[in-house]
Structures are given as structure tokens and as C-alpha cells.
Symmetry: C2
Subunit: 217 residues, 2 copies
DNA sequence: ATGTGTTTTAAACTTATGTTTGAAACATGG
DNA sequence: CCATGTTTCAAACATAAGTTTAAAACACAT
């Protein structure tokens, strides 16, 4: 076999895919602005002009990476159950997916993290991300919370409870640097993640169940 | 009166102070990396070399700004009550301060926001911020939550409940761009902020109170 | 008025980073 | 083998942004 540098599999798909993967990791770690095309290409083993060739520019590559990230995150840690599941089960599935996406520190877990980062440091790509990824998940959780609160709950209470559930999960992402200082620990084990997810579910279910009762007294 | 450009009040204190204020706003809005010295100086009405003269470099100016921010945030929305206050009252005060720091959108409210931004996008200055600002507040909340949970609560449960309370508040900061898309609204009114703070307190108190009871059954 | 220290200034310097360019290398069909 | 389209490459280009420099302006005491 000759030392041919490229076969068709090694070119079209491979460079572009390597860029997608490398960009995902770098963007998730550093954010859009701080990530440099040179870093990404170094990691991908590609020439920097390849970004222009395959994607057009940095922003367009980013948008592609975001889309890819959502697909991957969803596949790895799905947040939905079938419609026959109870609200409690659905809440558990939702929270668990979110917590796992956040706390999984293996190399192949950048997908969810990139989405969380985009949420807090938006680029032009946020609008699309909201419509394609975030809104559907929001609506699902809203439905679950509304069922748990019961038919008498007003829209604002449902909404604020949705945020309360979501905020507990997302905290572990946004505050990870603080947690690392205040409560140093190593990487989260499977049990850690499960314990945290269970706590968030328990805390939230307790709140939702009791928050209605004081009304009777 | 001559057209003298500078008097002693307009020089030493004024330029440095103008830089502090302008830098605070720009850093809070854009973060350390994206904020440029040129933007800050433009806003402060100063020459860019003034940063080097008064602070040494960008990072040192940032550290000064952070320190100043904490003092101001704490003064404007204090999170502590006296030791005679009940745990519930102390929780309310803590949550309220946090929520108000986050949701106040007036021009003079960048202080808290800068701290939140540093938490999620840390620079070299985080360590100092944690020790001087965040850890004391964390310890205070931990004490409150431990009291609310009662003497039998283990350390891990207390900690996770602390995060659950905190996460609900911080959510409004981290997810502000998402909230703006999913639930468009104008600036938060005083009542909005109070309502949100009350909800977080109620949600959290309900959770904390009921999360222990199922143990008896 | 002079000397000295402080503060401000415009310009220059240095480095980093996204984008572009034109040629080389490659892949494939006729 | 040649023609054509695709992909990769090194170098150049253009711009941005932090830091430095040296001089001017200022403040104040003697």
C-alpha cells in the first residue's frame, strides 16, 4: 500500500468530522469567543483554512457544532419517557438527563456542556438552539410540573416552579468552579450523579406537593 | 475661573474612580476577556494608558473592580440579618438579596452581576472572591439550612439543599437570555422581584420541611 | 520662577487571531 | 493520460487589543 496521504474516506468526511469534534470540545471548554481556530485545527489535525473551506467561517462552524451537540446529548442522555409514564417518572427522567449531561466529565460529554455554555454566553446561534432544543424540553417540563401541581395552579406558579427545578440542575454547571473550591472532590462517580439527580427530584417533588397544602390552613 | 482642565479633585481620585465604575459596567456586561480597555476608557473618558498607570494591567484593574463590586453589592442588597432572626427570616433575607442583585436592571446594579459572571467564567481573581465574598455567604446559608433541616440532617443533605436554594436564585442570572426568549417580558418591577424571591423561599421551605417527613412513614 | 513628583497623552510596539489567496495535492471520470 | 472538480496547504493580509514609551501637562512646595 502506497503512502498516499489521502483516500476518499480520509478527506471529505474525515477532516470535516474531525473539525466538528475538536471544535465541540474547544468551544465547550472555552466558549465561542475564547476558542481559536488555530486551537481547534491543531486538535483536529487540520489546516486553519479548512474551517473556511468546510464551514465558511467560525460562526457557521459553531452553529453546525451546536446542532450536532444537541443530537448527541439527546441520544446519550435522553430526557423523555413515553406518555404512559407518571409525572413523577417523567420528572425523574428529565432531571436525570440534565444532571448527567452536566456532571459527566468524560471526554465525550461536551455536547450538553456546549449547550449550557451557549445559554449563558449567547451568540447568534442561540435563537436556533432555543427553538430546536430548549423550547421542546421546556414545554415538556412545564407539562409535568403543571400535572404535579394540579389543575388549580396558575400559569405563573407553574412557570416559577419550572425554573426552580431547572435552576437546581443547572447550578451544578454554572457553579462548578465555586463548588470545586468550596467542596473539593474528584470527578463525579455514577453514584454521585444519581444521588444528585435523586436529591433534586426529591426536593422538587416535596416542594411541589407541600407548596399547595398550606393554602388549606 | 480659568479653563483649567484639571484640579486636584479631578485628577487622582476622579480618573481612577471613573475607570473603576466604567470597568465594572463593561466587565459585568461582557466579561473579562471580551471587555476591552479601549471600551472601558472610552466610557470613563480616560486615555488607555491610564489603566497601566493606575492599576498596572487589565487583570489587576479587574481584581480591584471585583473587590469594589462586592462591597457595593453587599451594601445595596445585604443578605444578613441579626442572629436573633429566625431561620425562615434569614432564608428570606438571603434569597431576597440574591434575587434582587440578579434582577435589578438599573444602571447601578452591575456589582452583583459582575460577581455572578466571575463565578461562571473564572479568572485569576476567583480565588480571592471566593474567600472574601462567597464562602462567608455560603457558610451563612449552610447554617440556616442546617437549622431548618433539624439536628438529624447529614452533611451531604444540607449541602445539596444549599445548592438547591442557591441554584434557584442564580438561575435567573444564568438563564436570562433563555427566559427572555421563552417568556418575553420587560424589566422586572419591584413586585416581580419580590414575587420571585417569595416563590424561591416558599418552594425551598416547603421542600425542606417535607423532605424530612416521609422518613417517618 | 524653578524643581520635583504626579498624571495624562498620543503614538508606537507587540502579539494574537480570523479571513483570504493562489498554488499544490488529490480524486475521479472519460 | 488529461481534464476537471475538490480538498488541503503555507503564506499573506487585515484588524484588534494589551502594553510600553517618552513627552507634555499639571500640581505644589520652596
Amino acid at each position: 500500500m502506497s503512502e498516499s496521504i489521502r483516500t476518499s474516506e480520509q478527506t471529505t468526511c474525515a477532516t470535516r468530522q474531525r473539525l466538528l469534534e475538536a471544535a465541540g470540545e474547544v468551544f465547550a471548554e472555552q466558549g465561542f469567543r475564547a476558542a481559536t481556530i488555530r486551537d481547534i485545527c491543531r486538535q483536529a489535525g487540520a489546516n486553519i483554512a479548512a474551517v473556511n473551506y468546510h464551514f465558511g467561517d467560525k460562526m457557521k462552524m459553531y452553529a453546525e457544532v451546536l446542532k450536532y451537540a444537541y443530537e448527541k446529548a439527546r441520544a446519550k442522555y435522553p430526557s423523555e419517557l413515553g406518555p404512559q409514564a407518571t409525572p413523577e417518572q417523567r420528572l425523574q427522567a428529565f432531571v436525570q438527563a440534565l444532571v448527567y449531561r452536566i456532571l459527566d466529565e468524560t471526554r465525550l460529554a461536551w455536547h450538553g456542556k456546549l449547550m449550557f455554555r451557549e445559554m449563558m454566553e449567547p451568540t447568534e446561534a442561540l435563537q436556533t438552539l432555543v427553538e430546536e432544543a430548549i423550547r421542546p424540553e421546556f414545554e415538556r417540563l412545564r407539562t409535568v410540573v403543571a400535572e404535579l401541581l394540579g389543575p388549580g395552579a396558575d400559569i405563573e406558579s407553574v412557570l416559577q416552579s419550572v425554573w426552580s427545578v431547572t435552576g437546581q440542575c443547572l447550578f451544578y454547571y454554572h457553579a462548578r468552579h465555586i463548588i470545586a473550591v468550596l467542596r473539593p472532590k474528584g470527578a463525579y462517580s455514577q453514584q454521585d450523579m444519581q444521588r444528585i439527580a435523586d436529591h433534586v427530584v426529591k426536593f422538587s417533588l416535596s416542594a411541589i406537593r407541600c407548596i399547595e397544602k398550606p393554602k388549606a390552613s
